[in-house]
Symmetry: none
Subunit: 197 residues, 4 copies
DNA sequence: CATGAATGAGCTTTCATTCAT
DNA sequence: TATGAATGAAAGCTCATTCAT
């Protein structure tokens, strides 16, 4: 699915057929049109990400989970670049209520919820400030990650000039967010471990 | 210029001609090709933004300037949405060295520098932490702003569900960043006023 | 293929599609672009001519072979006018070294060689003057034939006025050339038949 | 007028306007359309050639005049390549009876007549064979000249390979024709000088 | 089921021609 | 008379989609 890194417009049905080792016509036996193919891939991508999010260790504090989820999303991009791109670009679809689209929307929302939930847990266990808006913060976090993963040429040029790598940008990004949301005060219930005890 | 929100690939010369109330052929009297039109608009957009950045008050601390610049960028989007979009999308161009592209690149870099400079001033005057990387932070800040300005449908849907507006998202975004980079320690030189004395 | 009489520039893909009773797009399944179509036809044409040249009887004197080759070229024009035109016009191509073009060039050179060889044989067997340049003479002969086959309107008008037909022009042409290159001296070996004895 | 070497199709009104140092629109004050411009140039070209033909010395035998006319035509090509091309290409016009076209046709016919007349004189003065058709021979002679002047790329390539120059080709061409039409027999009235006496 | 030849709408671009100034 | 901005038809080409086999 790597060809979807090129973006929807720049992938022809020919490319897809070749990649799938099928005839161009055969694709239309399984999919109504090009958009449908994209949606199917996006759904698969969303499921892969959901699976990866599910595997994030549960026995962590909120702030630790946030760090883990961020890193997981970055790994999703690194390991499944094509699917990542399909997932990313699928966000611009107009979700006229086809069953396909409804399904995609549902999984995407679920993936958001992983982060929202971790933020709420962090607020509850005292590792995350209680004055942040979990929804807004989730949106900000994910979009920041997307920008690290989709560096536009002019930015890349800028980074090259200063010897900044993508990994370093991810690190800076992550530290910036964590520093911003973590709760600076000392408090007794800031670790899951202790609570378990 | 609002049609540029659709992105380069999705705007045909026909669309542009219709929007400009010109015949398709007329466009070619003023521009060499489609790319040139885009570049010309992007350059104009970059100049508008540069002008707005220049008007940010100078007698502020570093952190105050960062707040002002962020708000200015948001206002650029609000007041000149079409130009904003052209500026934003122009980042994906491959900058093969045409004079047009070189010019655009130059202005874009200059616009980055406004932010980098403010961050460095903030580090110097003690209002911004001294352990951040000004370059990486600039890139993160601007890309975060871009995400607030280009909310994808699926995110919009999510926001609607929780009654979150774009302005509120911008606010959250801005606070998150400022909180993350501001210097929490007390220090004597944290205000321009005092320094003047 | 008759439409190629109009010349490359004056035949649109639309014309070709109409002639071939295909949709415009269909042509692009078989040919990379317009140039490719032309080249393919020209190659086919060159092969037809080569085939016809090969069938010229071998047991003739040089001068007889020249007469036969000339008449063959004229018959090629008469029987395969469309292909003839494609062959003729293909001479103006810039032969940037695509495989297509290389192939065409090769066959064209081979076709030249039929005439060159006959001239040399004629010089050897004494039927053709030995002070002519075989290369230059070949070029002249073929170009003269081309002019008989491509009578421009103003010339046609002139011919009509004097009651001169294309066939008569060809005859005049041929006699002029033969008279010019034949060896007037008597010599013992001027006939293949005699040599065989 | 050198741009007409590129051929009718490949010269735009823009090119013509630039060459004439006029605005594109101004051309339409003087000419009905592009075809008219071409016709006007072709007429001018025809007049130049007529002028050059007129200057061919009268006190020559027929065969000498033919040689002179041939060389004059070659010089017309060498000195006025652009006009030569316009003249040459104008032969393909459909002469729907516009006044322009009628005029051009008239001059072209006149130019033919120079050669026809010289051939007839040569037959009369015994320097040219009396069994040739003056009309056909004229057509052949001029078209052969045209081929020397319009060497197609594939032929050029062939000439390069054998180190044959355009001037040499012209020479071969000329000798071939003269040899073919000259009267080999001795006769008393083969020189103008003698006749004058 | 699978194919791929065929389609035609739509793309960017060129250019002869018109016309208000 | 001279201009050049504006036009729109037509060019070569791409590509998602259909359909007979």
């Amino acid at each position: 699915m790597l060809f979807f890194s090129k973006g929807y417009e720049n992938v022809s049905m020919n490319d897809i057929a070749q990649e799938a080792e099928m005839a161009r016509g055969t694709l239309y036996q399984y999919f109504k049109n090009k958009n449908d193919i994209y949606a199917a891939i996006a759904i698969h991508a969303a499921e892969i990400l959901a699976e990866m999010f599910k595997e994030v260790a549960l026995d962590q504090t909120g702030i630790e989970k946030i760090r883990s989820l961020s890193m997981t999303y970055y790994q999703f991009y690194k390991k499944h670049t094509g699917y990542y791109q399909a997932y990313y670009h699928s966000g611009v679809f107009d979700y006229h209520s086809t069953p396909q689209m409804e399904k995609l929307k549902k999984i995407r929302k679920m993936n958001y919820q992983f982060v929202v939930k971790a933020l709420k847990e962090g607020i509850a266990d005292g590792t995350i400030r209680n004055d942040i808006d979990p929804i807004a913060t989730t949106l900000i976090m994910l979009s920041m990650s997307n920008n690290v993963n989709n560096i536009i040429p002019v930015t890349q040029m800028y980074m090259d000039e200063y010897g900044l790598t993508q990994d370093e940008l991810f690190e800076s990004n992550l530290e910036l967010v964590l520093r911003s949301i973590e709760n600076g005060e000392k408090h007794p219930n800031n670790s899951k471990d202790r609570r378990i005890i």
